[in-house]
């Protein structure tokens, strides 16, 4: 009997083993993620204001959300920030990676580390530092502007400048990490492609356009998805620096969720916002994946 069991384990090891490998993760996952996630999904169908009874309201929270102008504003702001991440941060990071990948460049180690330090600095500390940088009267940035004869900018005080300030801060924080991702991608490109093209007489720009970019596509995809997912979860920097103001100019989706839950006490509505956010992020990511043809390649 025991021997049979032993034999059957040996025979079936490869079938059972993968489940055992992934099990510890999924146990924690079930307890600390799946359960709370389902709990808030249920909550999103209830009107749960403050303490006490809850009323089942079906899809009402979602309908209200669909019509909520503040929520629209939050989506627009967050998209604005995401666009900044994708179209400003990502190209800058690629340029930085190309520079860092150049063979002639000196001080590579210094550059890599220097640009990376903001990523490992706590978001709370970063926000505290930048409160001093962005301050209209006593801040570093405006001191710099005044020194070169320009007028001060109300960085975080005007609705027009507030989100660009947060985007600049985002670039400051994330540039190094994204450049490293690109650098990793660049160094993984097989040199033989360049050789072949070079023999055919391609110039440097053509190499970049027809070899680097296509071969970098998976990394670009990764960086862009990361940027979008991260952007749609933006919370700490505007929370500490502007609290979402002025005039909701930096109100993000997660901040609106947090406000509805913990300042206005509308737990059901807040849960609905959470799920709307999940849908937005999943949709955008799927579009990206399809656009880049990832699924086809994975199956091959």
């Amino acid at each position: 009997m025991l021997r049979n069991l032993r034999l059957s384990w040996d025979r079936n090891q490869r079938k059972i083993a993968p489940y055992l490998f992934v099990a510890p993760f999924f146990v924690l996952f079930a307890i600390f993620l799946a359960y709370p996630v389902i709990y808030s999904l249920v909550l999103s169908f209830y009107q749960a204001r403050g303490l006490g009874s809850r009323t089942f309201v079906g899809l009402e929270n979602y309908i209200e959300l669909f019509l909520d102008r503040r929520f629209h504003k939050a989506i627009i702001n967050t998209t604005y920030y995401a666009a900044g991440s994708v179209f400003l941060l990502s190209p800058l990071a690629l340029l930085l990676a190309l520079a860092l990948n150049a063979k002639w460049l000196k001080l590579k180690g210094l550059f890599r580390v220097a640009f990376f330090v903001p990523v490992i600095t706590s978001e709370v500390v970063v926000a505290l530092m930048f409160a001093l940088v962005f301050d209209q009267d006593f801040g570093l940035l405006n001191a710099g502007l005044r020194a070169i004869g320009l007028s001060a900018i109300p960085w975080l005080r005007s609705p027009a400048w507030a989100m660009p300030s947060i985007i600049l801060l985002g670039v400051w924080i994330w540039l190094g990490l994204n450049a490293l991702y690109f650098l990793a991608g660049l160094q993984n490109i097989d040199q033989e492609y360049y050789e072949a093209a070079a023999i055919d007489g391609a110039n440097q720009f053509q190499l970049f356009r027809y070899i680097t970019i296509p071969l970098l596509k998976p990394v670009i995809l990764f960086v862009v998805i990361q940027a979008i997912v991260g952007s749609y979860q933006l919370f700490t920097q505007p929370w500490v620096l502007t609290g979402g103001g002025p005039q909701d100019a930096t109100l993000t989706i997660t901040m609106y969720l947090y406000l509805q839950a913990f300042r206005f006490f509308n737990m059901g509505y807040a849960s609905a916002i959470g799920y709307a956010l999940v849908v937005i992020i999943l949709t955008l990511s799927l579009i990206q994946l399809v656009a880049f043809g990832t699924f086809r390649r994975e199956d091959a």
Binding site: F32, V113, Q204
Partner: protein, 293 residues
């Protein structure tokens, strides 16, 4: 853009010169731009450190000073006399290292499982995994808090170590690393009669050192810098992590910015040192194929 590259043709062995886009002046410009970038990155830090040696009145005075006019150590004295700062440090070290170990172990295991086996349900589980990366943490706040209270984990190290130790993104990265381990190696071990776990522990894992370094750094930094969650589950000031401690020193009803900056500086220092000592492995790890989708 990129510099010229001398590429050696493998077959002939003769160098093929590609016409360079950037020559002397262009290179100098790139170098200057990079140095400018480093300066912009460094200035806020310099300003923070200098603020820690300023009396509060000097931080908010015109003209602003990059270096303190009147050097004071008051902010540091305040930090250690008014707050259990050393204890916060100890908590952070304990919590961050335990959570890192746990996270690395879990993600290596699961990453291996996903990368090296085809099994029914794998794709479903993978999609679940990717979906959780995208889940906004705030959705979990209230239900997870209730769970912590039910477990009687409030004000314990468990609450800040366990719930977020299983990180889907780490597994995802680990899976990418594991994909690059050749199957032949594993099959060879199987023929030698190794159990699947031994294959993982003795064959795959040693090959994964760069990946492990990357996950360690990510997990450690994440845990060290965690803010919202510790704030919710830790009440006892002696249980605070250093990042939470620093954050609780700020607010509209307390504005000793110099002291806050001193706390910020000291809380950032170890993580930067940790990164500097690990950065070689980290960068090697990232560049050795972390992100092949």
């Amino acid at each position: 853009m990129a510099a010229d590259q001398t590429v050696t043709a493998a077959k002939t062995g003769t160098p093929v010169k590609v016409r360079a886009l950037l020559t002397g002046a262009g290179r100098l410009l790139v170098l200057l731009l990079l140095l400018g970038g480093v300066f912009l990155t460094a200035v806020p830090y310099i300003y923070m450190v200098s603020a820690t040696f300023k009396p509060n009145t000097e931080i908010y005075s015109i003209p602003i000073t990059l270096w303190p006019r009147n050097v004071t150590y008051f902010n540091y004295q305040q930090l250690f006399s008014e707050f259990p700062f050393a204890r916060w440090y100890g908590n952070s070290v304990l919590v961050a290292s335990t959570r890192t170990l746990l996270s690395v172990f879990l993600s290596a295991l699961a990453g291996f499982g996903f990368a090296k086996y085809r099994f029914p349900g794998r794709n479903v589980l993978l999609i679940v995994l990717i979906a959780t990366v995208m889940l906004p943490f705030q959705v979990l706040l209230v239900p997870l808090f209730i769970e912590m209270v039910r477990f009687r984990w409030i004000d314990t190290y468990w609450a800040v170590i366990v719930p977020f130790a299983a990180n889907a993104f780490h597994i995802f990265l680990m899976r990418q690393y594991m994909l690059s381990v050749p199957d032949e190696l594993l099959d060879a071990a199987r023929i030698d009669g190794c159990s699947e776990f031994r294959i993982f522990a003795q064959v795959a894992l040693p090959l994964m050192k760069p990946g492990l370094a990357v996950i360690s750094i990510l997990a450690f930094v994440q845990s060290w810098n965690d803010f919202l969650w510790p704030l919710i589950v830790l009440n006892d000031i002696n249980m605070f992590t250093v990042n939470l401690g620093v954050a609780t020193m700020v607010g509209p009803y307390r504005i000793q910015y110099g002291t806050v900056m001193a706390g910020s500086f000291l809380s950032t220092l170890p993580i930067v040192i940790f990164f500097l000592t690990m950065q070689r492995q980290f960068i090697a790890g990232l560049t050795s194929g972390a992100i092949k989708l």
